[in-house]
């Protein structure tokens, strides 16, 4: 199909490179350099979507980030789907597949449109708050249909084939926007030697200079752009980022830039490339040269395709060589809009008329238009667009701007394009992200950036400076200032000459009056994406929504993907008028990141999947893998959970492993336990203060179990600490608690007791630990060590240094299973070799590797707790029946002692840890099951505790559990009940929590 709206000449597109794409199933052609929107307009595509609420046909309105309608679905395969792509910001690439997001059966003939026309009358803002309430149980059904109708594009349902990354950047000056102000600023800052980043959201630098009819030094403005970009590109201190949107301005001059590396090449990134990148920039200074968005006028039926922004049409004509129509009508209140008239005439097309709300405009561009024969109707405006799927005419009436009344019956002029311009809204978004309120300037009828916490300058249109010559100068000055503030010397420079021209001010006009009251006139759209009308805003204020945030929330003004870039100022002007207050009194809503939407994947970067969080493995990982271990996540560690043999499930494997330890010997990889090396003359005193029990008398060569509490008296970690030398201890912590405990020790040392001479070093990763446990462990270990293992020479709760497997080792004789046990610690580098030697030597001793599950069963049989499983942050040592571990007479009031002696800590009916023995020895209580004394009571039941650990014991031959029960230690022998989800109840006897070898003989042989 031919490009019906492509001009014969002009534009920056490469006519030698045709690009084929499809839209709604139809194939079209554009040129390299087109945006998707330009290519659609070139092909005469009027309707790009249907509106959200009323299903009205909508066309392209703008040429940039402010576009509300051309929000399309892109993607030829399921995995490559991209929802809600703004066609005005998407470069055309060969094979691009785009579709509209709403409309059935098609956007051109949409059945919902009929519904919208009829039902639309019943859908004022907030209508959903007023209905769908009855019957109560139908809301989920109503909601299903509402949800289906809402939403724009759709998410892919397959996994993203692309990857994303981010980059940290530091610079002296970050310049945001590469239009005239931004280029001048970047030039000034770069020449001073500053490290400069220049970021712009478009495909190429230049901004408005790429399409302006104004000249620089008498040349086409883009020639100056080429020169400046070439100069900047040649400087080592400058980073140029095209296709890069600065989307958030955060505290302490931290900004994020969303760079689209490959979106202009295709829907999926080429092999080896990240699709998008986030730059996380810390800038000493920022120059915001973000420009301004043209504001449309609000008039009746202003949403019919063929209603566009004046500037946008200039851009399509001059930059893309596309004329989105034949006969143009302009409605405006300012001089700048006349540029589109001149551009349109230059393209050889017809300007039907200009309606200027001002009574006697005499600016240079106005006069030029007049001189070229353009009919200018002053004191007038387009009050209503005609046409349904495309503009067919414009009704122009004389208006009284002050009284906001139509003062003449007016005339209807045939045309196919109405462009409007109500002035310019500076893009104050980034400047306001830290909460700085924009300030209203009546002279330019716009909000400009207010004071903020940002170390930035604003330059050009965002600053309320609109004349090209002034914009360049403002930009250069801002660049110099930013560089100086960043510590560099100022430079001087010459800027190109601009055309001198007489300009006249605009007149305030937002909503154009209609002969009917707003509520009865045809719809006058304020926010096109959300179908918010002037009547809707008036209704909201009438119903009592008087704050700007209330108006926004009640009408959905500015809630779209464009975040109200076109509509917000008009909307609040209308609200202010309805309430009889001024625009600055009304104020703006909060500006929040993002300026334009950012891909989730880009923000997540590489930190997904395998890199979501590091996996920590022990030195023996390869052996575990080779031997079929199943793994459990414990903190960041992957720990062997159990080692199933062929045909074994968890229970079978654990039963086998348990019996092996009880009857022969097992080996556990315990390397993940936290290990903290503590040295210094006050190390012992420090231990006294952070552990609940006493450490004064622990001799060199001995080890002791310790409990750690927080200041509230609740248990927070535990472990065995050994005395290596008088001033030297090795503390072990739980696997998950290692980092927490380390920080805990440091905070007390650094903030409370800096006078204590003690030093902490985490050595968790330096030492690997293998636990040999079981009656055969001594015999086995003897084969691989030179340490004297005689029970008197090396008694329980002591440690020795020596060789194990031929390498230096520390061996601790401590036990978490109740069996004779040795924990062999060697340097992690040697650990795999030592492990393999032990495994080899263990063959004849019945050595069995076991995992965490078996460890849990064995320790529970002994009543040993696991912090985090048997405790939950509300449990004191006494609650655990571990009063033996509480140093009640220690001189220093150690951490937790005061806390556990508060009123609530001394209650007799606190939940206490006890053993639970199911009456039916084959029933295993579910871990977590709640306990009651009376299972027959009505719900809500009085719960008295819960099961914390529960297993089937192969060694005991029956099921057993530990749990907390109110006043449980005094209830030994009584019964508790666990009412289960399936309605059954498990009955259990409260018993001692030590089930196996209660006298502790086996570990002490």
């Amino acid at each position: 199909m031919s490009q019906v709206n492509r001009l014969a000449t002009g534009g920056r597109v490469d006519r030698s490179q045709p690009v084929t794409f499809t839209f709604n199933g139809q194939t079209y052609q554009g040129f390299a350099g087109d945006t998707l929107a330009a290519a659609l307009l070139a092909n005469g595509v009027d309707i790009v979507g249907r509106s959200f609420k009323y299903s009205r046909p909508r066309g392209i309105v703008a040429a940039g980030a402010e576009e509300p309608n051309a929000v399309l679905q892109i993607g030829s395969t399921e995995a490559a789907q991209i929802p809600n792509v703004r066609a005005t910001q998407q470069a055309l690439y060969p094979g691009l597949v785009a579709t509209s997001t709403n409309g059935w059966p098609s956007v051109n003939t949409d059945m919902m449109g009929i519904l919208g026309k009829v039902g639309g009358k019943m859908m004022p803002p907030g209508f959903y708050y007023k209905t769908f309430m009855y019957p109560q149980n139908l809301w989920l059904t109503y909601e299903k249909y509402i949800r289906k109708a809402a939403g724009l594009g759709r998410s892919p349902t397959e996994v993203d084939p692309d990857s994303y990354d981010y980059m940290n950047q530091h610079c002296d000056v970050l310049v945001v926007g590469a239009g005239p102000a931004g280029l001048a600023a970047a030039l000034a800052a770069a020449r001073s030697g500053a490290r400069v980043i220049l970021a712009d959201e478009q495909e190429e630098f230049g901004g408005s200079l790429l399409s302006t009819r104004e000249t620089l030094d008498g040349q086409v403005a883009s020639e100056w752009v080429d020169e400046v970009v070439a100069e900047l590109a040649g400087m080592a201190n400058v980073t140029l980022l095209p296709r890069s949107t600065v989307n958030g301005y955060h505290d302490h001059n931290f900004l994020t830039i969303h760079q689209r590396l490959t979106d202009h090449l295709g829907e999926v990134a080429p092999m080896g490339m990240a699709r998008q990148r986030m730059h996380r920039v810390r800038a000493k200074r920022v120059v915001l040269a973000t420009g301004a968005h043209e504001r449309p006028l609000v008039y009746a039926n202003n949403d019919v395709p063929g209603n566009m922004l004046a500037d946008a049409v200039s851009t399509y004509v001059r930059r893309y060589g596309v004329a989105p129509g034949k006969q143009l009508v302009l409605s405006t209140n300012n001089d700048y809009a006349y540029r589109v008239v001149l551009d349109w005439l230059d393209a050889g097309l017809q300007v039907v008329a200009v309606a200027d709300a001002r009574s006697n405009p005499r600016g240079a561009w106005v006069e030029e238009a007049r001189a070229r024969g353009v009919r200018i109707l002053t004191g007038s405006a387009v009050v209503e667009a005609r046409g349904s799927k495309r503009v067919t005419g414009a009704r122009i009436c004389a208006i009284d701007v002050t009284a906001l009344k139509v003062t003449s019956p007016g005339e209807v002029l045939d045309c196919d394009l109405i462009v409007s311009s109500g002035g310019y809204s500076p893009v104050v978004h980034l400047a306001s992200h830290l909460g700085g309120k924009p300030t209203w300037r009546e002279d330019i009828l716009a909000f400009v950036p207010g004071d903020g916490l940002q170390k930035r300058e604003c330059a050009g249109a965002v600053n309320g400076v609109f004349r090209l010559g002034d914009v360049l100068a403002d930009g250069f000055e801002a660049g110099v200032k930013a560089a100086v503030e960043a510590g560099l010397s100022p430079v001087e420079g010459s800027l190109p000459a601009t055309e001198a021209r007489h300009e006249e001010p605009a007149i305030a006009l937002f909503q154009v009056p209609h002969d009917k009251p707003t509520a009865r006139a045809p719809k006058q759209f304020v926010d096109l994406q959300n179908d918010v009308t002037a009547a809707g805003i008036e209704l909201a204020t009438r119903e009592g929504f008087e704050s700007v945030e209330h108006v926004k929330r009640y009408t959905a003004l500015g809630f779209g993907t464009d975040q109200g870039k076109l509509g917000n100022i008009n909307g609040l002007a209308i609200a202010a008028r309805s309430l009889g207050i001024s625009i600055p009194q009304m104020g703006t809503t909060m500006f929040r990141p993002n300026y334009t939407p950012v891909t989730f994947g880009a923000i997540a970067g590489r930190h997904c999947g395998a890199l979501f969080e590091p996996k920590r493995y022990t030195a023996m990982q390869s052996w575990h893998l080779q031997n079929g271990a199943e793994f459990e996540d414990v903190g960041q560690w992957k720990r062997p959970w159990y080692f199933p043999k062929a045909g074994e499930d968890l229970h079978a494997a654990v039963a086998r492993e348990c019996l092996a330890v009880r009857n022969a010997v097992g080996i556990l990889d315990a390397s993940t336990l936290g290990k903290i090396d503590i040295q210094g003359p006050d190390a012992r005193e420090f231990l006294n203060r952070v552990y609940t029990n006493a450490w004064t008398k622990l001799d060199v060569g001995k080890a002791r179990y310790g409990l750690m509490c927080k200041e509230d008296g609740m248990v927070f970690d535990d472990g065995v600490t050994a005395c290596l030398a008088d001033n030297h201890f090795l503390m072990t912590t739980t696997t998950g608690g290692a980092a927490r405990v380390m920080e805990w020790l440091e905070i007390y040392h650094q903030t409370e007791w800096p006078e204590l001479k003690v030093y902490f070093t985490s050595v968790t990763d330096h030492w690997a630990t293998m636990t040999l446990s079981g009656p055969n462990s001594r015999k086995l270990l003897a084969e691989v060590t030179d340490i004297d293992l005689d029970k008197d020479a090396f008694p329980f709760m002591s440690w020795k240094e020596g060789q194990v497997g031929g390498v230096p080792a520390r061996v601790f004789r401590i036990s978490f299973t109740g069996e004779l046990s040795y924990e062999v610690n060697v340097q992690a580098d040697y650990a795999l070799g030592v492990w393999e030697k032990i495994i080899a030597a263990g063959q004849k001793h019945g050595l069995t590797p076991y995992g965490t599950e078996t460890m849990h069963v064995l320790r529970a049989e002994k009543g040993f707790i696991i912090v985090g499983q048997d405790t939950d942050g509300s449990v004191t040592p006494d609650d655990l029946n571990m009063g033996w571990c509480v140093g009640r007479t220690k001189p220093f009031s150690w951490i937790g002692w005061r806390g556990m002696n508060r009123e609530d800590g001394l209650r007799e009916d606190r939940k206490q840890l006890v053993g639970l023995k199911p009456i039916d020895p084959n029933q295993v209580l579910p871990e977590g099951a709640q306990l009651v004394f009376d299972p027959k009571q009505a719900i809500p039941m009085q719960m008295v505790g819960h099961v914390t650990s529960s297993y089937m014991s192969a060694a005991l031959g029956y099921s057993f559990a530990m749990g907390v029960v109110k006043g449980g230690l005094k209830r030994i022998g009584e019964r508790v009940f666990a009412p289960l989800v399936d309605g059954s109840v498990i009955e259990a006897e409260i018993v001692s929590s030590v089930f196996y070898d209660p006298k502790g003989e086996r570990q002490n042989v």
């Binding site: 302490h252 650094q750 903030t751 800096p754 005061r898 508060r902």
Partner: protein
Amino acid sequence: MLHIFCPHCGELRSEEEFHAKGQAHIPRPLDPAACSDAEWGDYLFFRDNPRGIHHELWVHAAGCRQYFNATRHTVTYEILETYKIGEKPRFTAAGGAEPQAVDQGVTA
């Protein structure tokens, strides 16, 4: 993303390297046993939580692992100063000089 001057490292570093640890200058009572339950509860849980100048404890967790204090404004998030444990803040809510950027570099 705050930019925090670590007084131990002598460098401005990004917030990701640090952890906030709550209000500063809350010393552990020297004689906990002498505290009533109420006093102990105050020490454990009750904080000033001001809207404005806040002295707070931070740790350079992914750096030197040292603790230090910061004087930060809880509305603007400006950091007026950071200082080592045991030192006194130069800026307090009670007044003194109008807060000025300190010589530690760009923090706001």
